[in-house]
Amino acid sequence: MTTTTLTPTVLAPELEVQGLRRVIGAVRDTLAVARRNLIGYRRVPQLLVFSTIQPVVFVLMFRYVFGGAIQVPGMPYVDFLMPGIFAQTVVFGSMGTAIGLATDLKLGLIERFRSLPMARSAVLAGRTLADLVRNVFVVALMAAVGFAVGFRVHTNALAFIAAMLLILLFGYAFSWIFATVGLVVGDAETAQAASFPVMAPLVFASTAFVPLESMPGWLQAFAEHQPVSVTVDAVRALVLGGPTASHVLQALAWCIGILAVAAPLAVNRYRRAA
């Protein structure tokens, strides 16, 4: 710091170049880390398979077992269900971010990364980017499963794509929450155990599987406004029709709000971790 103030004329141009190089370097580092994490998913397909089987089982269970008992006015239950399944898939999937970072921390990889001349942001950005790419595959698969069991889009292809992008953004925001969880607990099993109690109420006390009106009044207040419900409602509006703008804006507000809080928390935790 003192050197900078003492000799600004010498250092300023150099810092300028460094500023630009830094951004390019950070992008490259992020891609290198993301690539590494994706190789991990490819080599240990169990991770991906288990996180995919669960939502598939949910689709089948709700479509063919519970669905008959759940009354949704004006549409087949499967059309109501699938937006909820998409949200559930990415929320539960973000546990992968926690597990991945906790494992890196435990193995000492985070320490090694911190001793390298790489961008500080790249470990978290690379991790969440890899998990975003993974979500593209998982969400596409869930859509295929949904169509196979009778799910139909009532609007158009463009609105469906917008809905899927919203789901991916929502999953990305959640990854940052669980990045912090992973760095705090520092152990894969604990990360898994710590994640579930946070996720379960968000996913189940929501409009993902049942209509809001079926819940007791005190629960409705929470269920109506929490992020999973808001996102599911926006996705439903996009794929099933009805008033869309306000739902989508609310969902975007949640995503941006979560990112604005969770990302600095995770980065701060990363700086102090290891």
Partner: protein
Amino acid sequence: MTDTAIRVEGLEKRFGDVVALDGIDFEVPTGTVLGLLGPNGAGKTTAVRALTTIIRPDAGTAEVLGYDVVRRPDAVRARIGLAGQFAAVDENLTGRENLELIGRLTHLPRRLVDSRSSELLERFELTDAADRPVRTYSGGMRRRLDVSAALVHRPPVLFLDEPTTGLDPHSRRELWEVIGELVGEGTTLLLTTQYLEEADRLADDIVVIDKGTVIAAGTAPELKAQLGATIIEVGLADPAEALRARGSLVAAGFKADQQDREVRVEVDDGARELVNALRALEDSDITPATLVVREPSLDDVFLTLTGHRAEATDTDDEATRGAA
């Protein structure tokens, strides 16, 4: 280039109530090997983590090749390689992919990443396993890969934190050989170890730390010279007998320590004092089961300086890691 590769002055680090480093000083001249010696929890790993910019010291300064670790961390990171106590490699990647990842993250040009990776795999005898996931590697192979990952960008200053802990003697000797070669090529090395044999074999200078402070520094012969010229080790039937033997030796004016079934005596003139020592034991009707007369080792230095053996584990480095 500076003549001093690593300079540490009054370095302090606290984790909550635990004082990990209580003001340590040392210097490592360029191209030499410093052995940082101490028991678990002495602060060795904390010193390495501060020097490699992983943690921020609370007080004092640390410089690598003239760059302050707190003010110029990126300049330091570009010039160092680190291999820690736990082989920090990605289990799902192959050996080659691990090296390539480090090469990319240290911003080497693409073709250099490829050639360096192949070169290192060959040197560390990992070529056959290069394209297998690390998951399938043995402990020794992982450690060799970990050390080679620290070398991808050819850092002039290398930090090896207990590189051979947990390795079998064969793998340990193999790693020593490669480390010896690196040093021969001019790399400055800071090596932490609990194995005195390792420091004795690899290090030019030795700094002994205990409870976060430097308790001795010098070359191995200098440290050994602080002790008597000869060590006599007397093995006895049981600890009680050993205690009795120590009593009679101390009564006869010897400097003697007892541990388990063994009594260790430091003397200046081995041949003459040996006779006196045996006579003292005979006078007390004690017959030694075994008897060894030898030169002092760094182990003896350690025992004399700290009052416990190097392998003693009263506190653990893990604890300070967790507290971080």
